[in-house]
């Protein structure tokens, strides 16, 4: 039952289906989310270091910093990146593990349309240092992972990765997050990071953290671009 009184009205006004329960798992707020908030919040924008002139209206339903349409941005942490042995790497035979990561998208409303899905991977520092720029770098591949036990699905992207010191970011096709009946309100990805040049294989990497920055547009709240005022 919706909480009584002002909380119910506020819940409705904020378009939230269910009232927050208990206390959230304490976790640090990702810097990118603070940065986006400060850019978007008019009071913050006027008071913050990058003082926007009062007249400079924030474009509704557009995330300036990411350059995409959107009125909802979510930072979704992966549920348990499970490593699994992969087939031995071609040249070295030393198997580098692959990972399956799962993102819970149950909070995304059916009506929302994804405009950006950016994967962010952090690798364990020790390995990152071992794979310095002198090494042949890496190749990251991301595929849709079928259900547990099923083989990997279509490859969504492949890209070269020079070093692992900084977070590795890769933009998925937003359609990968599209709602459809078969996707049980989650996104399962199969990740593989293979040494880029067999000649100088680096040590295997260890995935420390995976997250997804998902920007969506709720068409019920974002009218098509308003006609210029007469």
């Amino acid at each position: 039952p919706a909480p009584p009184g002002p909380a119910a009205a506020l819940l409705r006004a904020l378009g939230l289906h269910d009232a927050p329960r208990g206390a959230p798992t304490p976790r640090p707020v990702p810097p990118v989310m603070w940065r986006l908030f400060r850019r978007r919040d008019p009071q913050e924008a006027r008071a913050g270091p990058r003082r926007a002139s009062p007249g400079a209206a924030v474009r509704p339903c557009h995330v300036e910093e990411l350059g995409v349409a959107g009125n909802i941005v979510r930072h979704v942490p992966a549920r348990g990146a499970r490593a699994r042995p992969a087939e031995p790497a071609a040249a070295t035979g030393a198997p580098c593990p692959e990972w399956t990561v799962v993102f819970d998208l149950a909070a995304v409303d059916d009506a929302e349309r994804a405009s950006l899905a950016r994967l962010e991977l952090r690798f364990a520092a020790a390995v990152a240092a071992a794979a310095g720029p002198g090494a042949g770098g890496w190749e990251l591949s991301v595929a849709l992972a079928g259900d547990a036990g099923a083989g990997p699905g279509p490859v969504l992207l492949r890209r070269a990765v020079r070093g692992l010191e900084l977070p590795v970011r890769a933009e998925l096709p937003p359609a990968a997050c599209a709602r459809n009946a078969s996707v049980p309100r989650g996104l399962r990805l199969a990740l593989a990071l293979r040494p880029g040049s067999p000649a100088a294989p680096a040590a295997c990497a260890a995935l420390a953290e995976a997250s997804l920055l998902l920007v969506t547009v709720d068409p019920r709240l974002c009218h098509p671009l308003a006609r210029p005022r007469r």
Binding site: P3, P6, A7, L10, A13, L14, G15, L16, D18, P20, R21, A23, P24, T25, R27, V29, P30, M33, W34, L36, F37, R40, D41, P42, Q43, E44, V58, P60, C61, N71, I72, V73, R74, H75, V76, P77, D104, A106, A107, L221
Partner: protein, 107 residues
């Protein structure tokens, strides 16, 4: 926390502060702690005594036979953004249009 809406007085924006702590959401809402939503209240008499002449649709509307007085409503609104944890422990930034009343008017 709202400014008491005393009867009478001209149409203007009155203070209404929405505090997330008051509804027990302060552990979920990361920022802001609350926001000034404000609201419009007051009499709309045309022409408003002592005010500059209103030359807009409200005057035209008042000419319609049997028309009631114009209403005291928001004339300019601003958006807000809210950063919060949702029930799946995601960090969410949502942008809401027309959440803050900056100016009221008789319309």
């Amino acid at each position: 926390g709202a400014e008491a809406a005393l009867p009478g007085g001209a149409c203007r924006a009155r203070r209404l502060y929405v505090s997330f702590r008051d509804v027990g959401w302060h552990r979920w809402v990361i920022a802001p702690r609350g926001f000034l939503a404000n609201y419009c209240q007051g009499r709309c008499a045309l022409p408003a005594p002592g005010a500059p002449p209103a030359l807009n649709h409200a005057v035209l509307r008042a000419l319609v036979p049997g028309a009631g007085p114009p209403c005291c409503v928001p004339a300019r609104l601003s958006p807000i953004s809210v950063l919060f944890f949702d029930n799946s422990d995601n960090v969410v930034l949502r942008h809401y249009e027309d959440m803050v009343v900056d100016e009221c008017g008789c319309r």
